[in-house]
Amino acid sequence: MKHEPAIQIDNVTKQFKDKKAVDRLSLTIEKGSVTALLGPNGAGKTTTVSMILGLMKPTSGTVKLLGGDPHDRAVRSRIGAMLQDTSVIDDLKVGETIDLFRSYYSRPLPLERLLAISGLGAERGKLAASLSGGQQRRLGFALAAAGDPEVLFLDEPTVGMDVTARALFWDTVRAMAGKGKTVLMTTHYLEEADQIADRAAVISQGRLIADGTPSSIKASATGRSISFTAGEALTRDMLLVVPGVADIDWKGSRVRLYSTDTDRLIGVLLERKIPMRDIEIQSGGLEEAFQNLLKKAQ
């Protein structure tokens, strides 16, 4: 069988009336990978996913899903998606809703299994509309998985889920990825992306600003910082001239300096007698790397 990527986005732009949501984005996602699309709200993640799924038309550029057109029924029978802002269907029970979705596919997963992976076994006979927000998200996941899809789309999947539900959810996604399924998710819970994804693509203002393993992104960004409470005499200008400061973040009296070499920077700060108290040195997680990437991109 010819090697073909699961998703291929080539130079895609999506222009809305007053805003360019996606700007010349190119991205290839290999089969069997778990990719996180990261970015702040309004970065263009959901628009990108909508175009891959064929729910929106790109203004220019091409999108291929499993080598074909997402409107093609043969392609749609091989994918599953959990969208944002999707409610449940009225007047149907949980088990009935899942069974309805199972009927759309030729080789669906068994109902029992879908109830188990969504943790809704006890809610099977309840009306779907009576579920809590987090439970409704889990039902959405069961529906996305109903057809045993090759490519699974998860758009901000864990919003509204509690800690236990989230853990079960990621265990399941990890197990699916282990079976060779391709997963594309959007999230702003960066620590989750760090744990689950083997690739992170960072999008800001519709553009790809970083792409690599979560750890390589962490490393490439200025991930270390020094924070302290500023003395009264301290001004922003005093800090700007200090060599080795990549960026300054000032919240109230708390200051955070980003640097590639915090060991040297702390020496310089002390040498210059910068007024500071309660000093902390942090090595950044993906969260901070991400914030830095966004700052760099602006």
């Binding site: 064929g54 038309k57 969208l83 999707t86 007047d91 009927s103 759309y104």
Partner: protein, 247 residues
């Protein structure tokens, strides 16, 4: 192919379940028409209309079918659109035609049950004696007319704000039923109202059954008018849906 068939059938069954569980449906399409029937046949003599109880049973059965198609149906379509359900379905292998088709088929099946329930309730309680052929033909007429109102419900359902849809559908439902003579016979109306009534699909819904009961020749153009309404509503709502999808 059999997969599409299986999916459409499952979709149909789910739609029927949902309709029967819907309280608004039970209220507007069964309880309200039945109550009106007993009130108006009990307190009025129909002003010389031949076989008043049968006449009014036809009016109220039509009223119930119109309510099912217009009020419950339209609001459900609108809600599904607003809540992203239709978007989700568009990513499944279910053909989009199967969604509309199964909705119409399910409502069609529900309407048969509705007509039977109201005919039986009214017929037995008031000992209405009509030839079997009249029962069947009148029932079929009302059933077929129901599809025009489903198309109107589908059109209303293209609006995303389901609260607006609910209000608008209820206003349309009541005003069309009154103007079309389902509440009060058009013969009791002033001449000008009688002329206006002829343009309403609700009047056309009752027209066939009323003629059958009165032993008059049936004017088949009534079904023609209903068909024209149905096609008109379908074309407009298909046009709107196409526009909404092209983002």
């Amino acid at each position: 192919m059999s997969q599409t068939y299986r999916a459409t059938w499952a979709q149909c069954r789910a739609e029927m379940l949902r309709t029967i569980r819907n309280r608004r449906f039970v209220f507007f399409s069964i309880l309200m028409p039945a109550a009106f029937f007993f009130i108006f046949t009990g307190t009025m003599d129909g002003g010389g209309i031949h076989n008043w109880a049968a006449y009014y049973l036809m009016s109220m059965t039509s009223y119930g079918v119109v309510g099912a198609s217009l009020v419950t149906f339209s609001q459900r379509v609108s809600k599904e659109r607003a809540q992203g359900w239709i978007r989700l379905l568009r990513m499944t292998p279910l053909p989009s035609g199967a969604y509309v088709l199964s909705k119409a088929a399910a409502q069609g099946a529900i309407n048969i049950g509705l007509i039977l329930v109201l005919f039986l309730t009214g017929g037995l309680s008031k000992s209405i004696d009509l030839p079997a052929s009249v029962w069947i033909e009148a029932g079929l007429w009302i059933w077929a007319g129901g599809f025009a109102f489903m198309a109107l419900g589908m059109l209303l359902g293209t609006m995303r704000n389901s609260d607006v849809v609910q209000v608008l559908a209820t206003i349309l439902y009541m005003s069309l039923s009154i103007v079309g003579g389902l509440w009060m016979p058009t013969s009791a109306m002033p001449q000008i109202m009688q002329t206006i009534a002829k343009f309403t699909p609700t009047y056309r819904m009752g027209q066939g059954p009323w003629a059958l009961i009165g032993g008059q020749p049936v004017d088949w153009s009534g079904i023609g008018v209903l068909a024209v309404y149905m096609i008109l509503f379908m074309v407009v709502s298909a046009y709107i849906m196409k526009k909404q999808e092209a983002v």
